[in-house]
């Protein structure tokens, strides 16, 4: 599959949005869906629907096999050692909450430290905050430097003998910084500290290898990976999933239930209580196949080229100030425009069919550090082109004209 023609695979681009061709620059928020994923949801509900893992009729067995097949696809995609290290959740947010809650419950006590960075999305801060409230756990933030990076040295400086877990983003959704997660994990492990990586922006854009990376937990958001909403993945090393207590209780996650006590199911059922997002899981299998068909390396190369091009175009525009100049940068272009508030930019761009995000992007700690309440952000996906970035620049010039 050639990247040049990839837009054709996404039906959203066939329709005009307010009489304009859609220039979709909001993939860090959520990506568009290829036809194969949309079709898979439709086909499953029309021809194959059944709940999984319970009944033993034909449809139930077939659906269970499809559901488990996605688990294997994910395992291979991220090169996890064991299929049962893949837990489906309702989102990356739930994946992080699962770890914060169960790890916190079992291993954290008053005065223990959780080390985050100033880059973190609210979903990798707020779940830990609860432990601050309930257990008196201390939260530390490794500082972001003037380039929008967090370095290995800064992480090292913030580790103390009280640090019990490090939870960091793989790729910042604002500055685009790609953190040296492998080196950070190695350092943390040398001090016997487990590492959680928020991979929401990493998984859709970078080649992943859990065995090489060696992190303890990795959270994935499926709707940012050309997949359905309502689905996330927690990768966790088997030893953690065995050691940690269950997160939610309900059907499907138990072994035996008696009036006087309950025993819990084997992995991965232990962490998948209740009826799961079955159609979404099955359709997400198509997202992985779609990415594999193009090749994640090709997607990464395409997006890196576009990022460099976008930065060039925006740098030439004297009124634009790019936010973040990290050493290794993912496909995120955050910026401000002289005298025009990001919300006004977004509304004006929208009239040209250019969809960007404006606001704090769920990173208020980071924006406080920048001294800005909001920024504008153009973020890229496999379907974007240089023309999209030219249109962005042209529409920004229109903003300037309105506000001049």
């Amino acid at each position: 599959m050639s990247i040049k023609d990839i837009k054709k695979e996404f039906p959203i681009f066939n329709n005009k949005i307010q009489n304009n061709d859609l220039v979709y620059l909001d993939s860090a928020n959520s990506s568009q869906k290829p036809q194969v994923v949309v079709d898979r949801i439709y086909d499953f509900y029309t021809k194959e629907f059944s709940n999984v893992g319970r009944s033993i009729h034909y449809l139930a067995v077939a659906a269970t096999n499809l559901y488990e097949n996605t688990r294997t696809l994910v395992q291979n995609y991220i090169n996890a050692k064991d299929k049962n290290e893949i837990v489906f959740t309702k989102g990356a947010t739930e994946a992080i909450n699962l770890v914060a809650s169960t790890f916190g419950q079992k291993y954290l006590k008053e005065g223990d430290e959780v080390l985050l960075t100033e880059l973190e999305h609210h979903s990798n801060y707020v779940p830990w905050h609860y432990l601050r409230k309930s257990k008196g756990v201390k939260i530390k933030f490794a500082e972001m430097d003037e380039n929008g990076d967090v370095t290995l040295e800064t992480i090292e400086k913030n580790i103390t003998d009280k640090t019990k877990i490090i939870a960091i983003t793989h790729l910042s959704n604002v500055t685009g910084a790609i953190l040296p997660v492998k080196e950070i994990t190695k350092l943390a492990h040398s001090k016997k500290i487990p590492v959680l990586i928020d991979g929401c922006q990493g998984a859709p854009h970078l080649k992943l290898d859990m065995q090489d990376l060696d992190c303890d937990f990795y959270a994935i958001s499926c709707h940012k990976m050309y997949g359905p909403t309502g689905l996330g993945i927690l990768y966790a090393k088997k030893k953690w999933l065995e050691e940690l207590p269950p997160y939610q209780g309900g059907g499907g996650m138990i072994r035996e239930v008696k009036k006087e006590g309950i025993t819990f199911g084997e992995l991965p059922n232990k962490y998948e209580a209740g009826t799961m997002a079955t159609a979404q899981v099955i359709a997400f299998g198509e997202s992985i196949k779609f990415i594999n068909k193009i090749g994640i390396e090709n997607i990464e190369k395409h997006e890196r080229e576009l990022t460099v091009y976008g930065e060039e175009v925006l740098r030439k525009n004297n009124s634009v100030k790019l936010i973040g100049n990290p050493k290794d940068k993912g496909s995120v272009l955050s910026f401000t425009l002289d005298d025009v508030h990001p919300h006004d930019i977004a509304t004006i761009l929208d009239e040209d069919g250019v969809a960007i995000r404006a606001g704090h992007h769920c990173c208020q700690i980071l924006h406080e550090k920048l001294g800005l309440s909001a920024t504008a952000r153009a973020s890229l996906g496999v379907y974007n082109t240089k023309e999209d970035l030219d249109q962005l620049n042209e529409s920004l010039n229109k903003c300037k004209k309105i506000f001049s």
Binding site: H341, T347, S373, I402, F403
Partner: protein, 156 residues
């Protein structure tokens, strides 16, 4: 909806050169409005005399053209207004921004109505309604009005 309707000259003018911007010294009431969607803040300061008359009003804050213009127009309009009037105008404005096609209050002069109606374009942009109302909610807090239990955009 034409973008020009949203970004009218009057909004761009007030957005770029907000009137009554900055804290003044002898204020005796103040409150902050906050938009969690974008992190924008508008802080309203009042000098309220014993008759609950607004002798002076100003605001501080940072935000988009819509929120700054709305705060600016509001402070111009509310100066020297007394308590029941302030509440009536406030509710009339919020009603107009939410649903009503026009302003109904007899307390608002025609030229003032024109200014306020310039903000009516946000109706077409549900995500931007909060931008136009943030200062007005801060004023309601500073005046210590209570929210109507059945209608969060109405004050009693």
């Amino acid at each position: 909806m034409d973008l020009k309707e949203l970004y009218q000259e009057i909004i761009l003018d007030h957005g770029k050169n907000p009137r009554n911007l900055g804290k003044f010294e002898n204020f005796n009431k103040d409150a902050e409005g906050y938009n969690p969607l974008c992190g924008d803040k508008v802080h309203v300061f009042l000098k309220l005399n014993e008759n609950k008359e607004i002798e002076d009003i100003s605001f501080e804050g940072h935000g988009c053209a819509i929120s700054m213009a709305s705060a600016s127009i509001m402070t111009e309009l509310m100066k020297d207004k007394k308590n029941p009037e302030v509440k009536e105008i406030l509710n009339d404005f919020l009603d107009m921004i939410k649903q009503s096609p026009e302003l109904k209050s007899q307390l608002i002069k025609e030229d003032e109505k024109t200014k306020l109606m310039s903000l009516s374009g946000v109706k077409q942009y549900p995500m931007r309604v909060k931008c136009a109302t943030i200062a007005w909610h801060a004023l309601a807090s500073a005046m210590e009005y209570k929210k109507d239990e059945n209608d969060s955009e109405k004050f009693i």
